[in-house]
């Protein structure tokens, strides 16, 4: 089966700084992949490129068979809005800082795009949104505004909002990094539930090593714009091969001792 995501020799530069250097990476349909690594190693850039938030300079990229280049060869720098629109239909993203629309109620946040983009009827979109909000444990908050919610609740709304667009690929960019420690568990609980859906492809950038070990099919360690080491989580964490990986894991695990209990989402 064809991979749902394929990076081929992708190079991404910010000015003189090369963030991704001839980057090759494939993700299979339904696979849950965690990207870890020090900050500035390029892992978030991978997600941002996939979400069309950043262009790249060289190489090829495909999601679900759609190239980020237009068929006539125009690069991602110049791809038309129409083409970018097609790419984004398959991809959704959850941000570190939630990025909910502060002037919209929780319900409106979730139905806005399905109504505007998928041309869904408002009532239908609202009943689906209510269902999604129930799934993330927030059905009683649908008429609240984001500022009335805790960080963990806001992030759960953001997950529901991304899911409402029925993405095939869902990207999580450090979804718990902006949260108070006691709120991390409820968000991880929701992501864990999602990970059991075998159709959904998930890419997760995180520093929660224990969680990565628990939910992912594969862990990729990034350093300086390359994947230094990757593998199935049990082997990856118990027996890392590369010295750089060992060094990173011991530094970050040392910090996270005692490892945080991830509590299942209350519902």
């Amino acid at each position: 089966m064809n991979p749902i995501i394929r990076f081929q020799n992708v190079t991404k530069r910010f000015g003189a700084l090369t963030v991704l250097d001839n980057f090759n990476f494939e993700v299979q349909r339904g696979e849950k992949v965690t990207l870890i690594g020090p900050s500035g190693s390029g892992k978030s850039t991978v997600l941002r490129i996939l979400m069309t938030l950043e262009p790249f300079q060289d190489g090829l990229l495909e999601t679900d068979g759609i190239s980020y280049h237009e068929p006539n060869g125009r690069g991602p720098f110049k791809a038309s809005e129409k083409h970018l629109h097609k790419i984004r239909c398959n991809v959704g993203m959850v941000f570190q800082s939630f990025n909910l629309f502060p002037h919209m109620t929780v319900l409106r946040n979730v139905v806005e795009a399905p109504v505007a983009v998928l041309k869904m009827k408002r009532e239908e979109a609202e009943s689906r949104a209510t269902e999604l909000l129930r799934m993330v444990g927030l059905s009683d908050k649908k008429d609240h505004f984001p500022s009335q919610l805790s960080g963990g609740q806001q992030q759960r709304v953001a997950i529901a909002r991304a899911l409402a667009m029925r993405p095939r690929v869902l990207l999580f960019d450090e979804p718990t990094s902006a949260l108070d420690p006691q709120l991390v568990g409820e968000v991880l609980g929701v992501i864990r539930d999602l990970a059991s859906e075998h159709d959904l492809t998930m890419l997760l950038v995180t520093h929660e090593m224990r969680f990565a070990r628990e939910v992912s099919d594969r862990v990729c360690f990034f350093d300086k714009g390359r994947i230094v080491e990757q593998g199935e989580p049990e082997r990856f964490f118990s027996n890392p091969q590369q010295p750089r990986t060992r060094e990173f894991l011991s530094s970050i695990l040392g910090e996270q001792e005692p490892i945080r209990e991830s509590i299942s989402c209350a519902r």
């Binding site: 979400m51 069309t52 938030l53 809005e81 629109h85 984004r88 239909c89 991809v91 959704g92 993203m93 941000f95 800082s97 990025n99 909910l100 629309f101 502060p102 002037h103 919209m104 109620t105 319900l107 409106r108 806005e112 795009a113 505007a116 983009v117 008429d143 505004f145 500022s147 909002r161 991304a162 667009m165």
Partner: protein, 230 residues
């Protein structure tokens, strides 16, 4: 005698009271000019601000150049230009429309900067979330950016309303009979300028105070996060 109202110059007080109805007619012209000019400034300023963000460089640069030019040249020069030069190109507008247009153009250059600042102040994460949800550019502006920027720009836009109201008397130089124009005519006929001109100043004061109060009320009524959408 003007508009059927005679003046009484026996004392300054009777003079002031007797010309009040005449100045009232001028006040209506002044308010109308400010209203039309401000409407132009609000709408055209937004158009300028959006065009300036266009991805087509030539459009963005042309608009930036136009905005800079209009901001950096005196209103009076623009007014004379529109009034005396446009007819050479076959465009003849009534004096009132020319005046309102000049005010509107000058202030749309100012408001476009206010809008630009307002748009820039919407956090990048909001744009990114809109992109991630595949919302179109138009939809993003209409439902995400504009509702959030309005509370931020109301104070600055309000200042320009007050400032524009105070600048409407320049219209009298192109024969518009606003308050100042009428006060001048009264002066020419009675050789008595002190009272009519002071009255014009006095009438402006409550007008600008009312405007400021209205703006403050609007400012207070708007939620800081933006126009709520349910």
């Amino acid at each position: 005698m003007m508009y059927g109202y005679a003046w009484d110059t026996t004392t300054p007080l009777t003079f002031a009271i007797s010309i009040l109805p005449i100045l009232g007619i001028g006040l209506l012209v002044t308010l109308k000019a400010a209203a039309v000019g401000y409407a132009i400034a609000l709408v055209f300023g937004l158009v300028l601000a959006l065009l300036r963000r266009s991805k087509i460089k030539i459009v963005a640069w042309t608009v930036a150049g136009f905005t800079e030019f209009v901001r950096d040249t005196p209103l009076l020069v623009q007014l004379f230009f529109l009034y005396y030069v446009l007819p050479d190109f076959g465009i003849v507008l009534p004096a009132f429309m020319t005046g309102a247009l000049a005010l509107g153009l000058q202030y749309s250059a100012y408001t476009s900067e206010v809008y630009r600042g307002g748009i820039d102040a919407v956090p990048r994460g909001q744009w990114e979330a809109a992109t991630a949800l595949n919302l179109s550019r138009l939809h993003t502006y209409r439902n995400i950016v504009v509702p959030q920027m309005i509370p931020r720009i109301v104070p600055a836009l309000g200042n320009y309303l007050v400032s524009m109201l105070k600048e409407t008397p320049v219209l009298s130089v192109v024969t518009v009979l606003d308050m100042l124009g009428l006060a001048n005519m009264i002066g020419e006929r009675t050789f008595e300028y002190l009272v009519p001109l002071s009255m014009v100043g006095l009438i402006f004061l409550p007008m600008t105070l009312i405007c400021s109060a209205l703006i403050y009320a609007v400012e207070r009524a708007l939620p800081k996060t933006g126009i709520p959408l349910r």
